[in-house]
């Protein structure tokens, strides 16, 4: 009953100065809109970077010979997966896995040469594991028995002035530390958003690479894709137990820079949240202080009539809460409308070159996370209410006789 009265007073008081109220509602709405949208874009961008990096031969988990991650040369090779490791990989959480040969090499056309990573893959095993099966834009993908076929990135092909059907020579170091070279024919050209991949890799079949480098059945790495990249601890532990002496690393361990970038993105988001909130809370506190100051006599009157100081405090806080709630409702509606409008992504092709450098695709797809939306709303609502405590406390402290006689 008293709550209804306080709510009625708070709501009606709010609209005594419509323009002032509308202005602060707009400020709150814009603040929340910017927080939700910016968070969705930042998360979308970060998600794309992580996804691209995972598809860029990283996978969710990698297994190597010790030392390979620091020095990825042929000396750091490993035997093919043991029965124990194969059993561990036969896990419902594992959606794909494959072994690869991956060593430094030089690729030479008739005109140019370039340093690359020679990647020997199991063409079928790479499906669902890396970008390469879906990235071929000219020619065809590798077949399992493609002894002399090679996939090259579009940019590298341009640099080497080579192309589909042309012959290139790969030179590397074999297991005996001797120079190994072999001619391959370009059967496909790939194009990808993965940063640097078009110039960094050339792909042949694993068997062809093993033969060229005299590796026998040995490989450089084993990559694993799972159902959820955020839940890798148990699987990683099982794989470590099944592959003693090998280096089992999650994507986060394999790409620490990406994890740092994600953390920085998160911090930048929180800084933005703080800036928006500070700007908003100044407006809010100022509005409430003005409202309390203008209503000094009225507050004195309701206290004289028997309203408790704590009820005066609650009334001013309710005003603040209602103001924030209206602003939040409008801000969230704006943000959702905007997100629905750009749900297919924002075309950044004008900046594609620069974006690809950091692993972001030409189309940035926003990603809404409940924690960001909840966080933005709670931040505004809870901290906004806390900021409103000061004007509310001032109102509650009025001495009725002084408030009633104030000019």
């Amino acid at each position: 009953m008293r709550a209804t009265l306080l709510l009625t007073l708070a709501w009606r008081n709010l609209w005594r100065h419509t323009r002032r109220t509308v202005l602060i509602v707009i400020a709150v709405a814009l603040g929340v809109w910017s927080m939700v949208i910016l968070a969705a874009l930042a998360r979308g961008s970060m998600e794309q970077q992580i996804r691209n990096e995972i598809l860029n031969l990283t996978g969710h988990v990698q297994i190597h010979a010790p030392g390979y991650r620091d020095d990825p040369v042929i000396d750091h090779r490993m035997v093919p997966p043991s029965p124990a490791l194969r059993a561990a990989l036969d896990d419902p959480a594992v959606t794909a896995w494959a072994t690869r040969v991956r060593v430094p090499a030089v690729v030479a056309s008739e005109r140019e040469s370039a340093g690359v990573a020679l990647v020997g893959i199991d063409p079928e095993g790479e499906r669902g594991l890396s970008f390469i099966p879906g990235a071929v834009v000219e020619g065809r993908y590798l077949a399992p028995d493609d002894g002399a076929g090679l996939l090259i990135g579009r940019k590298l092909a341009e640099r080497l002035e080579t192309g589909l059907g042309r012959r290139v020579v790969i030179m590397s170091q074999d297991v005996d530390n001797a120079i190994a070279d072999r001619g391959f024919r370009v059967v496909g050209v790939f194009d990808t958003d993965a940063p640097g991949a078009e110039t960094a890799f050339v792909f042949v079949t694993r068997a062809a690479a093993q033969a060229m480098l005299k590796l026998g059945e040995q490989v450089s790495e084993l990559a694993v894709m799972t159902t959820d990249r955020r839940r890798l601890d148990a699987l990683t532990a099982r794989l470590k137990a099944a592959a003693p002496g090998l280096d089992v690393a999650s994507w986060a361990e394999a790409q620490p820079l990406l994890v740092v970038t994600a953390s920085i993105t998160e911090v930048v988001l929180y800084i933005w949240f703080a800036i928006v909130f500070l700007a908003m809370s100044f407006g809010l506190v100022n509005t409430l202080l003005m409202a309390v100051f203008e209503r000094t006599r009225e507050i004195g009157l309701i206290q004289a009539l028997g309203m408790q100081p704590r009820q005066v405090l609650v009334q001013v806080l309710l005003e603040s809460l209602l103001l924030l709630a209206v602003g939040l409702a409008i801000g969230n509606a704006l943000a959702w409308g905007h997100l629905a409008w750009i749900r297919d992504g924002i075309d950044l092709s004008a900046f594609a070159e620069g974006m690809e450098m950091v692993g972001v695709s030409a189309v940035l797809i926003p990603q809404v996370e409940a924690r960001d939306v909840l966080g933005a709303n709670l931040l505004v609502l809870v901290l906004g209410s806390i900021a409103s405590l000061y004007p509310a406390w001032r109102a509650a402290r009025y001495v009725p006789v002084e408030a009633l006689t104030r000019v």
Partner: protein, 229 residues
């Protein structure tokens, strides 16, 4: 007759910078139940100060105040608010009503704070507004009422919850003589019908003429106390 208000050696001293300005000095006063008393005196004589101390709106520097047998000079802020809510009605000179509430809501304000059920509140407010001659104006906000009508709403609010004491500070100050006369007749009627104790402060001869008792103040002291009729 038992007393509604008792003041003993009541003093109030205001401080202006480092100078002490006495507003009330050793005031002894008893207001019996159902009295219709008026505090008069020149400006600065201490009328409003005394009214504020009795109403628990301000605290005495020394002395005692009892309302309905309760010592209020030692009460905490919350206790004073509770006392005002349940035992005292107020009519001020101006700024009497809450501008965002209608006449009916203003009348119901105190009852709603007291936790009176909605149906009972509605019945009482309808009856009292009718009694003060405001039929048909229940849903108007203060800004849509004349000064006289606003004071009537304030009177209705002050007595609707049947307090033991109504304090009215210069209730006719902003009214023309016709409205002032009507208001005083109304208050006297309430005093007779509802057995409410009234204590006014005023400069207005009309209010004094309607009072049963005239208490004169000068320089913060009671200098006269006469029963009239």
């Amino acid at each position: 007759m038992p007393a509604t208000v008792v003041c003993r050696k009541l003093c109030k001293v205001y401080r202006q910078d480092s100078v002490a300005v006495p507003a009330l000095t050793d005031v002894d006063l008893v207001i019996p139940k159902q009295d219709f008393a008026c505090l008069s005196g020149p400006s600065g004589s201490g009328k409003s100060t005394l009214l504020n101390l009795i109403g628990g709106l301000d605290r005495p520097s020394s002395g005692e105040v009892e309302v309905d047998g309760r010592r209020i000079d030692r009460m905490r802020k919350g206790e004073l608010a509770e006392l005002r809510l349940h035992h005292i009605g107020f009519v001020f000179q101006a700024y009497n009503l809450i501008p965002v509430l209608t006449a009916r809501e203003n009348v119901e304000f105190v009852m709603q704070m007291q936790g009176v059920p909605a149906r009972e509140r509605a019945a009482k407010s309808r009856q009292i507004l009718s009694e003060v001659g405001l039929d048909g104006l229940e849903d108007r906000r203060p800004g849509e009422l004349s000064g006289g009508q606003q004071q009537r709403v304030a009177v209705a609010r002050a007595i609707v919850s049947e307090p033991s004491l109504v304090l009215a500070d210069e209730p006719t100050a902003n009214l023309d003589s016709t409205n002032a006369e009507a208001l005083m007749q109304l208050l006297r009627h309430m005093n007779d019908e509802h057995r409410v104790t009234f204590l006014f402060s005023t400069h207005d001869k009309l209010v004094m003429d309607h009072s049963k008792r005239l208490i004169k103040l000068h320089d913060g002291r009671i200098v006269g106390d006469e029963r009239r009729r």
